[in-house]
């Protein structure tokens, strides 16, 4: 089948993708052109590449594998606090790395809660440092995201299909094979690719929880090349490998992605007649409870650590919070302007190759992109003046792959279901966007906007390269407080950051879903 005729044009999406590609590749080109001598890859770099791939693959696999039972339980059970739980699933993802590490260690560390209990029982404390610690931390960050992405696939199955299945006497097993597995096949490859790409650029988490230089990732090698050896060529080369691997993962994911849709439904609230057995109920309850414990204990630790200092936060922290909110708002606007046209273009095409562009942005080393943009801006303008716009753009690009993962399946369904009708009514272009697409995508827009706003709040990103005192963001201020020994204030500022990021996420996400039962 050739390209179908669509009610929307592909051009705006292609332009948006071109912009993203230009920023990412442009940054690389500039960094490479600024390099003089070039040293090839040594055995240490290959070891770093191996470790990076291993931990990213394990983290992605485990996050997604664990997300499936959790998403299934959430999709077929209704219980008190479920909506709040789903909203809270964004929280770990939004934390600045250093705060998340301290939260995780408060629970899983040598002196953490679990170890304390174990020691009381006469058992040795947990040994968290090592490859398993790295993977555990990455699962902590990414499991919630994977759950949300996969849950979305379930929610794309019209309620009528479950009703029909129940009428036909299908059990849990039949429903799994007939409805749920085909739906998952639309979500799993993309979720794997996104988590994999995130973990590729891991540095502080991998090093700290990995227990030493054995856990050297590519991002650390880039850091070393840049600030230890000042070898820009090597930094760019290593950065290219990161982006290349992510691009490859994206292509594989897109190639295995199924684009089977389920047709339209009447947007009834979903009722499920399967899974009524005791075993199924117990299994679902276990999946949800374990996830809650795993994700929430570290968050509780962060909240407890932050509360004492909250009422004595210095004024600069509040100012930084304001700056961060501004950046988050700008990032979200930029993101929507990029992601929506791209998603529509991808959904209109048979294969979503364009989505790979988004993944490449995510896997770009913040150090390389920051350096590149700095080199571009420096000759023409004061980089400090542009610190905030640059941060907003980079944060939007980093959030793009998530947004695409959220938009594309839904947009594909809309085009499949309403595309021909819209064409026959000559409902095309802007009118189609306004009347059909944006309305149908409202929950996804809310979710993606919330995620971007929150991510942008929590991201240290490139601001560290451009920051001056007046333009510090909240995460930067958290680091500064820690660097000045002010651990209590830092933890309080981190709590403020968590609350603001979560508040933004909740507002957008709720806004998108209002009137819906999700």
């Amino acid at each position: 089948m050739a390209e179908r005729t669509q009610p929307i044009r592909a051009l705006p999406g292609a332009i948006a993708a071109g912009f993203v590609l230009a920023v990412v590749l442009g940054a690389f080109a500039v960094v490479v052109s600024g390099a003089d001598a070039e040293r090839g890859l040594g055995p240490a770099d290959l070891a770093a590449l191996r470790f990076t791939l291993l931990q990213a693959a394990l983290s992605a696999g485990l996050s997604v594998a664990l997300a499936i039972p959790v998403a299934r339980a959430l999709s077929r059970r209704r219980f008190r606090g479920r909506t709040l739980l789903i909203a809270f699933l964004g929280a770990p993802f939004l934390l600045p790395v250093i705060v998340a590490i301290l939260g995780m260690l408060a629970v899983f560390g040598r002196n953490g809660w679990i170890s304390l209990v174990l020691v009381q029982l006469g058992l040795p404390p947990i040994q968290i440092y090592g490859l398993h610690g790295v993977v555990l931390a990455h699962v902590f960050f990414n499991l919630p995201l994977a759950v949300r992405l996969i849950l979305q696939a379930w929610q794309a199955i019209p309620a009528e299909r479950f009703r029909l299945a129940a009428q036909l006497g299908c059990g849990s097993r039949d429903i799994w094979f007939l409805l749920e597995w085909p739906a998952l096949r639309r979500a799993i490859p993309g979720a794997l690719a996104v988590v994999f790409a995130i973990c590729l650029t891991s540095f502080a988490v991998a090093l700290t929880l990995g227990g030493g230089p054995k856990a050297t990732t590519l991002e650390l090698a880039i850091y070393q090349a840049f600030r230890f050896d000042f070898d820009l060529g090597r930094a760019a080369l290593l950065g290219c490998i990161q982006v290349g691997v992510a691009g490859l993962a994206g292509l594989v994911a897109m190639a295995t992605l199924s684009d089977v849709g389920f047709g339209g439904g009447l947007d009834r609230s979903m009722d499920r007649w399967d899974g009524a057995g005791g075993l199924a109920k117990a299994g679902d309850a276990l999946a949800v409870c374990l996830t809650v414990a795993f994700l929430f204990l570290p968050l509780v630790a962060i909240v407890l650590a932050g509360l004492p200092g909250l009422d004595t936060l210095p004024a600069t922290v509040w100012r930084a919070a304001g700056v961060s909110l501004l950046v988050a708002f700008a990032s979200t606007c930029i993101l929507l302007a990029l992601a929506l046209p791209m998603a529509a273009t991808i959904a209109g095409a048979r294969r979503g190759w364009l989505e790979t562009v988004g993944l490449m942005g995510l896997a770009t080393s913040p150090l390389v992109i920051g350096t590149g943009l700095f080199l571009v801006i420096n000759p023409v303008a004061d980089p400090f003046l542009l610190a905030l716009p640059v941060t907003a753009v980079v944060n939007a690009i980093m959030a793009l792959p998530f947004a695409l993962r959220i938009f594309v399946p839904a947009a594909r369904d809309v085009l499949q279901v309403y595309g021909r009708l819209a064409l026959s009514l000559e409902l095309t272009g802007r009118t189609f966007w306004r009347v059909v697409l944006l309305r149908r995508l409202r929950p996804q827009i809310g979710f993606a906007a919330g995620l971007t706003a929150a991510l942008s709040m929590g991201d240290l990103g490139v601001i560290a390269m451009f920051a001056d005192p007046e333009r510090a963001t909240l995460p930067l201020q958290v680091y500064r407080l820690m660097g000045a020994y002010r651990m209590e204030s830092a933890q309080a500022a981190a709590l403020l950051l968590l609350m603001l990021a979560f508040g933004l996420f909740w507002l957008c996400d709720r806004g998108g879903r209002s009137g819906d039962s999700v």
Partner: protein, 326 residues
């Protein structure tokens, strides 16, 4: 109405003043410019005397600072760079971006200072910090043989991490790999930067953390907390001397010289101890703040000459990597 007029007058006056006031841009590391660092007080003190606008710009940490300067090259907006240390000064001088200074001062450094390009402003010793109730080892070797758990920073991404690398190397030379092999089972983990490591230590993840001999002074003076101490090691302690230098291509030559001279005066030096938590390069007339007398005094100061730092660093890093990657 009156206040509105005053306001308007102020604005126009400020505008006029701004147009005439020369501006001195100083690149420094991030924690220097933060509200809790020396930055705000230094800015105020210098602006009182210079009739200029001092603009402090934070750019990561010391090593990132040099990288930043190299990125900008001759086009840099910096007039002065403050915050490099002796591990970086040779590489910094090599760029040709700095010019010589004319500052003379009676430095209170444990080593003689004769660098023609850079002016030292503070210094400190690296040390392992622990809870005061711990029976701390008295040498690196004893630490390596003990069962104590430590957190250190990665020398590739952190200044203290690099300091420990040089410490072990200068103290033990060819035996350094053996010391690292002995330390391997003491090291809980290696972090990206100082903040992560210190945070882990405060959370109780390790018995000791690599920091400075002056760290307990922060807890004592700012928090009235006497529970932290630094361990004194028989091999001596590696030093960090932090320096400032004038950018050769600056269009504010005189002002930059004035600032470098200001650095070694009491006005600047008296700010350092309780904001940067380091020893001032020239002890101010009022002496050190109360509490500093409680800090350990290493018997021997270790420091690699700036010119040899890079070669030693690269060899020591390879040893470190192979000892800890087993």
């Amino acid at each position: 109405m009156k206040s509105a007029l005053t306001f308007a007058a102020c604005i126009s006056l400020a505008g006029a003043a701004l147009a005439d006031t020369p501006e001195l841009t100083v690149y420094t590391y991030d924690s220097f410019v933060s509200d809790w660092g020396p930055g705000p007080a230094v800015e105020k003190a210098f602006e009182e005397t210079c009739g200029c606008d001092l603009k402090l710009v934070g750019a990561g940490d010391g090593a990132a600072l040099l990288a930043r300067l190299k990125l900008e090259g001759e086009r840099t907006r910096a007039d002065v760079v403050l915050g490099l240390d002796t591990n970086l000064t040779a590489a910094a001088a090599e760029t040709g971006l700095f010019s010589t200074h004319s500052v003379t001062a009676e430095y209170d450094l444990p080593v003689a200072w004769e660098d023609p390009v850079f002016v030292p402003y503070d210094w400190g010793y690296f040390a392992f910090v622990h809870n005061a109730d711990l029976q701390a080892p008295t040498s690196l070797k004893a630490l390596a043989e003990s069962e104590l758990k430590i957190v250190i920073q990665d020398p590739r991404s952190s200044t203290p991490g690099l300091g420990l690398l040089m410490w072990v190397k200068t103290a033990y030379g060819d035996e350094a790999p053996a010391i690292w092999a002995g330390l391997a089972d003491n090291i809980v983990t290696v972090t990206k930067g100082w903040s992560e490591a210190y945070g882990l230590f405060l959370e109780g993840e390790a018995d000791m953390v690599l920091s400075y001999t002056t760290s307990p002074a922060y807890h004592l003076i700012a928090e009235e907390d006497t529970s932290k101490a630094a361990a004194s090691f028989d091999e001596g302690h590696y030093m960090q001397i932090e320096v400032a230098g004038k950018v050769a291509g600056t269009d504010q030559q005189e002002l930059a010289d004035q600032f470098l001279q200001f650095i070694v005066t009491d006005a600047f030096q008296s700010i350092i101890p309780t904001t940067n938590w380091m020893y001032p390069a020239v002890t101010p007339a009022g002496g050190l703040p109360d509490g500093f007398e409680t800090l350990i005094q290493p018997g021997k100061a270790l420091l690699v000459p700036a010119g040899e730092a890079q070669a030693i660093r690269d060899a020591a890093l390879d040893e470190w990597l192979s000892a800890l990657s087993q």
